[in-house]
Point group: C2
Chain length 381, copies 2
Amino acid sequence: MIYLDNTSATRVCGPALERGRAALEEYWAPGFQPYKLSQDLLAALDTRYQIIYDLAGAEPGDSFVFTSSGAEAINQVHWTAFLELARKEGKCHFITSAVEDAPMLQSLKRLEDLGCYVKAAPLDKTGRIDVQKLAELISPRTAMISLSFAHGLSGVLQPIEEIAALAKEKNVLLHVDATYALGKVYCPFQDLDYLTFSGDRLHAGKGTGGLFAKAGRPLQPLIVGGIEQAGLRGGAFDIPSFLSLAAAASQASLGLDLMSLEVARLRDRLEGELVQKIPGAHVLFSDSPRLPNVSVVAFPRVHQESLHYALCRKQVFASIGGQYAPHLARHLAAAGIEERVGETALHFSLSRNTTQEEIDRAVSIIVETVENLRLLSKDLF
Amino acid sequence: MIYLDNTSATRVCGPALERGRAALEEYWAPGFQPYKLSQDLLAALDTRYQIIYDLAGAEPGDSFVFTSSGAEAINQVHWTAFLELARKEGKCHFITSAVEDAPMLQSLKRLEDLGCYVKAAPLDKTGRIDVQKLAELISPRTAMISLSFAHGLSGVLQPIEEIAALAKEKNVLLHVDATYALGKVYCPFQDLDYLTFSGDRLHAGKGTGGLFAKAGRPLQPLIVGGIEQAGLRGGAFDIPSFLSLAAAASQASLGLDLMSLEVARLRDRLEGELVQKIPGAHVLFSDSPRLPNVSVVAFPRVHQESLHYALCRKQVFASIGGQYAPHLARHLAAAGIEERVGETALHFSLSRNTTQEEIDRAVSIIVETVENLRLLSKDLF
């Protein structure tokens, strides 16, 4: 098996696994009782927050909420904006980008159901948000710009510094979902108001996610009910999952150099070999700033569904989107890529664990598969 | 250590621990990709739902949402009622009981912030809701009655059948939080519209909870963002935690007889010994239908805070409330118990793992501690 779909989910890393497993047995006690069993829980948390703060570039005064997923974190940010800005100040306009995952889109859709307005900033041909056009969408009633730092499928990094400067100038809150970027590239949280992420793309377990709010920004619980997490999230604090996330964050911090050097090298190797060995194959978004582990390659005269299916059968797991993400072809269409190219493209995403041997094996399987499919489909194109 | 605070949290049981640990390594793949790694996840879930349905007495047509806590489940029920009844039909009145935990109270408080009205039905001297007075609170605009099946601190079971008949007659939805009752007594879900529970009181991990909605009842996601769990809860489905909950539910089903026989016997032994050996000690709510594992005992001429603290020092962990629950003294005051009695009371809650040896050891430590404290406080009473 060669797993090249780390945008959809990542394997839980060893330290996260070990920490989570041990903690599941150790830290079952209630959180706020005066007896030792309970007080020991606090000691277990001690330095663990710092690791996650450091990874996101957050300061001690910023707030962090441990959530059960990135989706929950996104919902909480939007809910906060609804309660604090839409209801109290009448600022009920929201701006997102033209290509976002389901949690972002559906959470904003819910705000629309509650009387808010949402507009989407278009992408240019490089897969990046057109900041000029984004600026034109801002009105005096705009509460928040809410978008992804990097799109999981294209891997393209958005011009966050520019957008942050714009948000600051216009006095609009900026929420960035860093699910695909955290642990891959440096996260400029000091320029943002809110940052969210999902642990399952960071080699932590599925029941993990987080939300940072810069000091002074409003923050309301989505789940109310108790004093856990300073009243910012009701329900028992899931210490085992939190410790597992912290262990994964620590590994991600240690692996940042590896990601930008070795993983990027393997990604480039994958792209270079495919382009060289498959006539017409070409890399999309290669001129844009991209995540170091993501690649989208177009294979003219092969339909992506056929190629994806054939590769699955050969245990090479790539992606054409779906699940939370849009279909890859729709994603590419939103970036202005022609349909006949977009429908031949496949997404590959590597992880710290991907080896050169896997890449080379994947290349030869892909080359062979594309050749076969082209024989079958030669009359169709 | 003798742990007699299973109302606050329960130790994760062996099968839940093993299942959760194994699944954390096995089931990390994305949920909805066409490749085998992903499809295998569905097979893992196969029969696991049935165990949880059986424990709650739910039918195949009823909906179940796996949540990250009981608090989240309660929030989701109230949010559904807000969207579907308060906003659409103007039914914005809610009724709860005079003694509830923080998730119930704060979630209803949020509905008040959004324009709803909440009233609390009083308890009678037996710790039970006065159904006659509850009936008087119902108006044509009442959307939902939302309360606990059993109060965690008193252990008193509410007259759910009566309340269910009333709700049906008045065409009001009935939500029951069964956090303290599930796995302890039979749950009459067929009479209810919604049932919620928290896994951490069922010997599962902290990041687990659930929500049942009877077939045909409205149900909206609290966390939106994707097709997971039939669109009823966004965010990656946390299969390891779900399997861990199912394993715990299976153990709870097997242990129901043990709970109503052996655990009840040990609880009665604890009460009998304390009453016999400590002059003036008496059991509260002993004439009410109670959970088999809970006991509240008053120790006249000893303040509960002192006794609780002294017992904690001797590694006997009982409870005086707090955390999600109200303080025990306030809880007892709401049931009309005199303050000077309520402030001498301590809550004990057993589990399937509690042994007779532990009970006997606890009794002798409690007896000795009460005697010592009475010497110290003889001039105060």
